[in-house]
Symmetry: C2
């Protein structure tokens, strides 16, 4: 059985999406000439500011496109569905947003992205554009705690990019912007649960199989295997399982503040997310932790996958200031 | 086959969702004491301002809850999934937001809502709270053009509530606020397409049947029958079919401005919405119409239904000003 999608030719889906994004948000975004996969903020990039380039595969909208704008990322390089962008649009992004003091690359830790962003960085060095890279590794289910640099980047991207984007907008030096970005990543923890697969526009076939009454804890946003598959439990039990892991990783003390994201992987409705949010609040209250801010909705998706993830960012004074800093993107505002 | 949902007991879903909403957005929203289905804006209601109360069944999130806040609605009365709220929370909303100059009720034109909101209005009259009602009727597929008052209210609610909320925030008189609300509704046109059913938390069973390769044009947001069922077409063909109807209804002249909403019914991802947006832009360009603003995403959903709707609001100077007026809600900001 094929998934029904409102698309034209599957091979055109990403480029047609980008045309629609520019049609909807001309005041926020433009594409580099003859490089439609390099999407730049109209407002934000400027002389003396570290340029922030994010990017990765399509299919996670509003990640990455939606986080391009004043106070957040300066540009996003867009790949095919669930596939890294090649070096060309990454380079075009960097050149468009370079303010003369360095360009920061930030993206989820996936082999294909690392290869392509690194190639772009090497070529940019020949043009005297200095690039540094901070990988996001917030998915606690993707590798053990003593191998954090092997973890993948998932929905925590939203908070990590937000903090780094604010640091750049506040004209942090290149060293300081990189430090703040690493600090934001190191204090951000995500874990998810998948209930159904999604299907790519070119195949319309499910990207994995799962039983009619099963869930998979810890599955990645491209269907990477998780840590446990079993019968679907209630929202409270699932939320507890995720929160147990997140709280264990975070090692917060009573009175500490957190930013919370309860994120839909695609087709899980807000009703279910808020039911989970209710339990997140109860667990944080129980641990004596304070919710400084919370986001609930579709922030980092896997097309129409059913499921959700919970992200906690362990705030300190600096991260709180960076998360609260205003931003104005086509699909996200604070 | 039952739909998998991240819920606890189905009967608790709405109340647990509301607890999660208050946990996530305490700075924006509160519930009336002992009336958890009456959700009030912390900021917005005030002396001398017409109070704006919206509401209806749950399952359409972020409609209605998400549009409660300064510059938009003052309160929302929340029903069970796809069912009208009873009079009690409606009355509680009106009493909480009454600024002494009248309360406007706005909601989609459904028999159950009309009955309950009218009963509340009658009882409020006994307490000397003057209520007027403006029904939204933007769904052009739900009745012929010569029977607009029989049409249902769907995703166009977002623009219609936005315009009315701005009018109230700008301290329009009761007469003027009602006029502006009717004016906004009269110039707003929506048509949708459904690809899959959704299921209610208490049954977990699909609310209608549709073939594996079929779509239904004009289906309502509770699964009400549409105007045509047939094989799924490409995004461009589907968009054209919707736009043909909307443009015919709108009777705009070249150079006129519109606000556009491309809305997911739940599980249709942003990629597909933006592919549709691309075609909407082409059709508006072809008609010589100017996009003043556009929204693309989950704005008025039917739980996890797959499908989308397109809304056009035919702007004039007043509506443009009202749509541009700032608002600050938990789930929507301008």
């Amino acid at each position: 059985m094929k998934t029904k999608k409102l698309i034209n030719a599957g091979a055109d889906a990403v480029d047609e999406m980008l045309q629609g994004v520019l049609a909807a948000h001309p005041e926020h975004l433009y594409a580099v000439d003859s490089m439609p996969r390099a999407i730049i903020a109209r407002n934000g990039p400027r002389k003396g500011k570290v340029g922030l380039v994010i990017g990765g595969g399509s299919g996670h909208e509003p990640t990455f496109l939606g986080y391009v704008g004043k106070g957040l990322a300066d540009a996003a390089a867009i790949g095919n569905v669930f596939a890294s962008p090649p070096p060309d649009p990454i380079m075009a992004c960097a050149m468009a947003v370079d303010g003369g003091v360095g360009v920061l690359f930030m993206y989820g830790n996936y082999a294909g992205d690392v290869m392509n962003f690194d190639m772009a960085a090497e070529m940019l060095a020949l043009d005297d554009i200095a690039v540094r890279t901070v990988l996001t590794t917030d998915d606690v289910a993707s590798a053990p705690a003593d191998q954090q640099d092997r973890r993948r980047g998932v929905a925590g991207n939203v908070f990590i990019f937000k903090a780094a984007g604010a640091a750049c907008d506040l004209l942090y030096s290149f060293d300081e912007a990189e430090r703040a970005a690493r600090h934001a990543n190191a204090r951000t923890y995500t874990m998810g649960v998948a209930l159904s697969p999604c299907s790519l526009p070119q195949t319309l076939k499910p990207n994995f199989q799962i039983g009619e009454e099963e869930m998979e804890i810890g599955m990645g946003i491209h269907g990477e295997p998780g840590v446990a598959r079993g019968p679907l439990k209630t929202a409270d039990v699932v939320t507890d399982e995720l929160m147990d892991n997140l709280l264990r990783e975070m090692k917060a003390e009573r009175g500490d503040r957190v930013a919370v994201l309860v994120n839909s992987l695609g087709s899980t409705p807000m009703m279910e997310l808020y039911i989970m949010m209710r339990r997140v609040k109860a667990r944080l209250d129980g641990a004596g932790l304070v919710i400084h801010t919370s986001l609930v909705g579709n922030y980092c998706t896997s097309l129409e996958m059913a499921g959700a993830s919970i992200t906690l960012m362990h705030l300190d004074d600096e991260l709180q200031r960076l998360i609260d800093h205003p931003c104005d993107c086509a699909m996200f505002r604070r």
